[in-house]
């Protein structure tokens, strides 16, 4: 399956991963190979592509639900301590500026 370089760039944009030109080139090749292998597998197994295939049919018909009772997590400071940048208990992030699409 042929994949355009633009597709890779778009996927990288969506996945928010910075890639170098070489990386894009090498990933494009892998992606083409893997996708093709998959399509070949489907063909050999006689399976059609099906966007609407409902694969969620579960054998059990019972969904475990939680009671609406508070379970307080005491160590919120442990969570906050993991953050790279915090100010007054708030997680600090750069603001979106014009360059962002």
């Amino acid at each position: 399956m042929r994949i355009e370089k633009e597709d890779i760039k778009k996927a990288a944009e969506i996945a928010k991963i910075h890639l170098s030109e070489e990386e894009i080139e090498s990933y494009k090749k892998n992606l083409e190979d893997m996708t093709q292998e998959f399509l070949d597998a489907l063909e050999s197994l006689g399976i059609n592509l099906d966007e609407n295939f409902d694969f969620t049919k579960s054998s059990s018909k019972r969904t475990v639900l939680r009671d609406d009772e508070p379970e307080i997590f005491e160590k919120t400071e442990m969570i906050i301590k993991n953050a790279p940048l915090v100010k007054d208990g708030l997680f600090s992030v750069p603001t979106i500026i014009k360059g962002d699409k």
Binding site: N30, D50, P94, T95
Partner: protein
């Protein structure tokens, strides 16, 4: 048995008996294993909790002194793969992205083992975010295969498998998404179980592909694997994809006749002839005992890898979206804006293989390709049905665990497709949800371990362990130790 022999070869049950009998203290045992980790220097562990483990060992010894000994895993030193959460300890997935992340809660499996008396020795090395088959993608560098230091231990639970093989710990947990427990177990000559999907809670396991991930034990023997499995299995309200089936109990050891199907993968030209020879010999022994052994057509190893790739990468691309440099983990140092921060953080924080898979998964899930992800489940369904049908006629399905024995460092790392094909025989079980167990089945002519994969019906780990224990009686392979 002297103490060293005991610690190197005994089962968990035998060790606990020895502890109770006062033959050895828990502290001695813990020190013994920690010494071995340091001396072996295989880079199996990414962190050893020495002080904490010794503290816990002393506590256990005090209990021993008062005769207050409870727990299926009382005093037993174990390790966790670095993608299983323990509150207050680092949880890095061997990634630069999480080097500074400290888990804020306990995984369910850790809680269960701890309450049965297990003593945590440390975290083991792995492929970054469990993506790989050689432990070469770890940020912490390669783990060496104890049977041949120039070779990989397999992956992604390479640290866990090598640590158990080198007797640096009595057992370790790994995680298996496409073969990440069974493949390294085979390459290191130990026993590794991927339980039925839904048997073991995933709560606290850093997600790779949620539909496929399962935690399982890597042990010296089938008996030990079964024992650890009894502790970690069972419904968990924190993982609502775990199944409300009866909790697993230890089986009796009564052997009986088995109807064994052997997959025609055994005749695959890609199969290493040494592996084939070992398995054929073993099958002959089994047949000689009056078991039914029949070859069946089971072609799915030809298709499982691409299907597994589509499915696992898609889910991974979403599961790994949370690493954005805001709440925890790595954040790039320089950036101009929010989205620039995201891209640099993720570009620098993730390694090659992880980026490749995220990118692949993102591409697959894009609206115009959405049929690919959905259709991968069609194949999964097909495999599941085929296995279901197989198990109406047979108790056991046997395949080699891998097509090859442990390969050399660098041999496949630059060829992702080749590397991914290490999962061909194992990922079938992840796609179908069936359990799979890899047990030692001999050695190649160059002295590398060979693995046999046992597959049963979903939720039928009982038959699996009965059979594994029976096969173990045919040889001493599971007791073989690498040279030091």
């Amino acid at each position: 048995m002297n103490n060293k022999e005991l610690l190197l070869n005994a089962t968990i049950e035998e060790i606990i008996t020895a502890l109770k009998g006062g033959e050895i203290s828990v502290e001695e045992m813990v020190r013994f294993f920690i010494e071995r980790i340091k001396k072996n220097n295989l880079n199996t562990f990414v962190e050893i909790y020495e002080d904490e483990a010794i503290e816990r060992a002393r506590e256990a010894d005090r209990k021993l002194a008062t005769g207050n000994v409870h727990g299926t895993l009382f005093g037993i030193p174990f390790a966790l793969k670095d993608n299983i959460a323990v509150k207050g300890h680092k949880l890095t997935c061997a990634s630069r992205m999480l080097l500074d992340y400290t888990a804020t809660y306990d995984s369910t499996v850790y809680k269960r083992i701890e309450s049965e008396g297990g003593i945590l020795i440390g975290r083991t090395n792995m492929d970054e975010f469990a993506m790989g088959s050689s432990t070469e993608t770890s940020f912490y560098g390669n783990t060496l295969n104890p049977w041949d230091r120039s070779r990989v231990p397999g992956g992604s639970s390479g640290g866990s498998a090598a640590a158990v093989a080198a007797r640096e710990v009595v057992f370790a947990l790994g995680s298996d998404t496409g073969g990440s427990i069974r493949q390294p177990a085979a390459l290191c000559g130990v026993t590794g179980l991927k339980p039925t999907y839904g048997r073991v809670s995933r709560y606290g396991l850093v997600a790779f592909a949620s539909s496929l991930d399962q935690i399982g034990p890597i042990c010296r023997s089938a008996e030990d694997a079964e024992r650890v499995f009894t502790v970690i299995n069972g419904f968990d309200e924190r993982d609502t994809t775990s199944k409300e089936v009866e909790k697993y109990n230890l089986t009796d050891n009564t052997t009986r006749q088995f109807k064994v199907a052997v997959s025609n993968d055994l005749n695959d030209t890609h199969l290493n002839p040494d592996i084939k020879l070992n398995l054929l010999n073993l099958l002959n022994d089994i047949k000689a005992d009056g078991n039914i052994v029949e070859e069946i057509d089971f072609d799915f190893s030809k298709y499982s890898v691409p299907v597994y790739q589509i499915l696992s990468c898609s889910e991974a691309s979403s599961n790994l979206a949370r690493y954005d440099g805001i709440r925890y983990g790595y954040r790039a140092e320089k950036y101009d804006s929010l989205f620039d921060m995201y891209k640099k953080t993720r570009g620098e924080g993730f390694g090659e293989e992880v980026k490749r898979r995220i990118l692949f998964g993102t591409y697959i899930l894009m609206a115009k390709n959405s049929a690919l992800y959905a259709s991968s489940f069609k194949v999964a369904r097909l495999i599941r049905n085929k296995l279901k049908e197989t198990f109406t006629k047979y108790d056991i399905l046997i395949t080699p665990t891998t097509f090859n024995t442990a390969f050399k460092f660098g041999e496949k790392i630059d060829d992702p497709i080749q590397m991914h094909h290490s999962d061909a025989l194992t990922s079938v079980c992840n796609l179908s949800g069936n359990p799979g167990l890899s047990i030692p089945a001999g050695f190649s002519r160059d002295g590398l371990p060979v693995g046999l994969q046992i597959i049963t019906k979903r939720f039928d780990e009982k038959t699996m362990f009965r059979f594994a224990k029976y096969v173990q009686t045919k040889s001493d392979w599971h007791r073989a130790l690498p040279e030091e």
